[in-house]
């Protein structure tokens, strides 16, 4: 670890990792007291990834956490009470008891998109947020996380490929924690490095030690800067290990003992404390101050969460639809002149034209066929069939405007359909 962050940045990373672990330790206690109504997932040993990567984002940027990214939420500004109340299904929680865990978001202030349990779905969503931000001139970067297991889903591929074709300012953190529930990574992916997946999309990638929070931060920062500069999406594989089972119910006895021992010795907080001490950024007194601060905060947040009521039963029937402007004002925040995307400024020359094609008029003035399934009305049918009969190809394809557009045109005819 090279020392080139500010003192405050070093201490912020430490604080958020400690807070991350403190929040999760508190939740384990709540879980054992049956105060958490559903499942509890742990990011023990992976805090450096959540914290280091989210810390690289600016306030205006957007993130979408996965189940083991409580740390990223804390960095983005979510108070611990929201995390507690989500898990406890409380009425004051962000989803008012309608969903649990890290499944909540904030469109207006913190710029967080709520995850769902189907892995990979967030990737095209965050690509969409990224290109919408670019469209509106907001200069934002979006970030989400995926596991080694989630990287095998179809939508991972669809989303990352789409993001790459759009050069979306999007950073994907692939947390390779070696286990997808009980299935080891070597049985999921025939690759040594999951970062190699990036090659398939023609995008840049990094491999980083996920248990080294400073390395994680620096790598993420570089990726975020590159994405913001217009280099397109970037994939970061963070190597780590899932210390707990898939969730609290799972003792993870399928994990070899020596593997667990190796990674436990590489605890990211322990490693970082050693670094901070050796660099004289943290001493016993400083550590105690942080301990006390976090303890006091968590006690306060936990008290608040525990005193929050359960949602009233009838609330279950509410909120399926947005009822209009009184419910939500959907409004884009333009940070560029919107005339740029309106005609005449937005207009571009025709990329290709086939005379009469599609306009409902054939080259000789008759009805042009478009596609099977769009045969014309019976009155025009005889005439149309005649026109369909000659097998000659469309007569004129206009000259391509540029090499770039020519490629697009050539690619638009698909064999599949």
């Amino acid at each position: 670890m090279k020392k080139d962050l500010t003192r405050q940045q070093y201490l912020d990373l430490y604080y958020f990792m400690r807070l991350n672990r403190g929040v999760e330790d508190t939740m384990v206690k709540l879980f054992r007291q049956n105060k958490i109504v559903g499942g509890l997932y742990s990011s023990l040993g992976q805090e450096g990834i959540s914290v280091g990567s989210a810390y690289a984002l600016e306030k205006k940027d957007w993130l979408a956490p996965m189940i083991r990214n409580i740390g990223a939420l804390l960095v983005k500004g979510v108070p611990p009470r929201d995390v507690f109340m989500q898990h406890m299904a409380k009425y004051d929680s962000p989803t008012k008891g309608k969903d649990g865990t890290s499944h909540f978001g904030d469109l207006d202030n913190l710029h967080i998109v709520s995850p769902i349990s189907m892995l990979g779905d967030l990737i095209p969503v965050m690509a969409g947020v990224a290109i919408a931000g670019r469209y509106l001139g907001q200069k934002i970067v979006t970030m989400t996380w995926i596991g080694d297991g989630g990287s095998s889903t179809g939508v991972f591929h669809e989303g990352l490929n789409f993001a790459a074709t759009q050069k979306a300012p999007f950073v994907l953190i692939l947390e390779n924690n070696l286990w997808a529930y009980s299935t080891p990574v070597r049985r999921q992916v025939p690759l040594e490095n999951l970062a190699d997946r990036a090659k398939a999309y023609g995008i840049a990638s990094y491999i980083v030690d996920g248990n080294d929070v400073v390395a994680m931060y620096k790598t993420a920062k570089e990726a975020v800067d590159r994405a913001r500069a217009g280099e397109g999406p970037i994939l970061i594989e963070a190597k780590t290990f899932r210390r707990m089972g898939h969730a609290q119910h799972d003792p993870a006895e399928y994990v070899p003992k020596d593997m667990r021992a190796y990674w436990e010795a590489r605890d990211p907080i322990l490693l970082y404390e050693k670094f901070l001490t050796s660099e004289k950024l943290l001493d016993t007194k400083g550590k105690k101050e942080i301990d006390d601060k976090i303890d006091a905060l968590l006690q306060k947040e936990r008290d608040f969460a525990e005193s929050s009521p359960m949602p009233p039963a009838e609330f279950a029937a509410e909120g399926v639809y947005c009822t209009g402007d009184d419910c939500h004002k959907v409004q884009a925040k333009w940070e560029r002149d919107m005339r740029e995307v309106m005609p005449p400024k937005s207009s571009v020359p025709a990329v290709w034209t086939v005379e009469g094609f599609g306009a409902g008029k054939g080259s000789s003035g008759g009805i042009a066929p478009i596609h099977f399934g769009d045969t014309s009305a019976t009155t025009e049918k005889a005439e149309n069939e005649e026109r369909l009969a000659p097998k000659s190809p469309p007569k004129t394809i206009a000259k391509k405007k540029s090499a770039k557009t020519a490629t697009v045109a050539a690619g638009s005819r698909k064999a599949r359909r």
Binding site: L107, S114, V129, I370, T405
Partner: protein
């Protein structure tokens, strides 16, 4: 459905009697195109995203000219990735955009079922995040598209709280409802029956208009029985109603237009008058909207019914390819006529 054509070329009058633009009657397809053009002109937050929607103008040319007018940022050609289309559109909507997604054929909506039903549909309920996106595409059979280009998958989504489902039958409604869908803050699925694309024409009003989502339309007044239908089958039902009239049976034909939310009020009002109900849909029979309507009538209008609810629907099979098979598979005016006559006699 082949015999249904006659009833579809039903002249050039507008269905609401308003002033037309004088540009002559336009097709269903043109009405869709006009809706997208006008919404994009009106609001720079409206963008179009889908496969071949830009350079090519869409497989059915519904977005032809959009790219040239609105540019690359607003008309987005995507890879063949339906989940990415819906996911990206959803993400864009979080920043206040109103994307119109095209499914090249609505059959392919199955590829993004998860993204739609789990992500998009649940967002508002779970975390107060509206997703104002429209997903539109050509649907329906009768054009020999075969089992993967003829689907009517509306009921998968009618069963999904959080979505709205529209299935219009006239150019006027198609344009007005598509505009309403774009302006709605919820995810709206918009099914376009491709059999109707160029078989019906209608004069459209000059001025900007929308058609309210969730309202059915009475297409023909009658007193002996009510035929509830939508999309292409609405025209088939009208054709059957004309034939029934010659035998002294006056059928009331109601065009549902929106399947979710369903206009129960209009349905119940008509049932009070006619006391008999026939539901006609091109979707396959089991699990079709007719079953849901039957349940609603049992719950809310049991005492008004003077006969069993009857239904004419497609066979419970995939859509077959050969014209002989597909004709047998689909409902037609004769089947509707026969069922209606039986019901009227009941």
């Amino acid at each position: 459905m082949p015999a249904a054509n006659e009833s579809k070329t039903n002249g050039t009058k507008t269905t609401n009697g308003s002033k037309t633009n004088g540009g002559g009657p336009v097709t269903f397809l043109e009405a869709i195109k006009q809706a997208m053009f006008e919404e994009m002109e009106r609001d720079p937050a409206v963008v179009v995203i889908g496969e071949d929607v830009g350079v090519y103008g869409g497989a059915f040319k519904t977005s032809e000219g959009l790219l040239e007018r609105f540019g690359w940022e607003r008309v987005i050609d995507t890879p063949i990735s339906e989940s990415a289309i819906i996911g990206a559109a959803c993400g864009m909507s979080y920043l206040g955009l109103r994307p119109i997604c095209e499914m090249q054929f609505i059959d392919f909506i199955a590829c993004c079922f998860n993204q739609l039903t789990n992500f998009v549909a649940k967002g508002h309920y779970l975390w107060n995040a509206p997703a104002p996106i429209v997903v539109r595409g050509p649907s329906g059979g009768g054009v020999h598209g075969g089992p993967f280009h003829s689907a009517n998958p509306e009921m998968y989504f009618v069963h999904t709280p959080g979505l709205k489902v529209i299935y219009p039958s006239t150019p006027y409604d198609a344009k007005g409802l598509l505009k309403a869908a774009v302006r709605d803050n919820n995810p709206v699925l918009f099914f376009e029956h491709k059999f109707l694309y160029r078989r019906i024409k209608e004069e459209l009003p000059t001025e900007d208009y929308t058609v309210p989502i969730g309202k059915a339309a009475v297409r023909r007044e009658g007193r002996h029985l009510t035929i509830l239908s939508y999309a292409a089958m609405m025209h088939t039902s009208l054709e059957a109603a004309e034939a029934l009239a010659k035998e002294g049976i006056e059928a009331e034909v109601i065009d549902l237009r929106t399947l979710l939310p369903l206009d129960e009020e209009t349905i119940l009002k008509s049932v009070k008058k006619t006391n008999k109900v026939l539901v006609v849909h091109e979707d396959t029979k089991t699990g079709g909207i007719a079953g849901e309507i039957a349940a609603i009538l049992c719950e809310k209008a049991f005492a008004d019914l003077d006969g069993p609810l009857m239904r004419v629907a497609s066979l419970d099979t995939p859509v077959p390819y050969a014209p002989t098979l597909e004709d047998y598979f689909l409902p037609n005016a004769k089947k509707v006529f026969t069922a209606a006559k039986e019901l009227a006699r009941y």
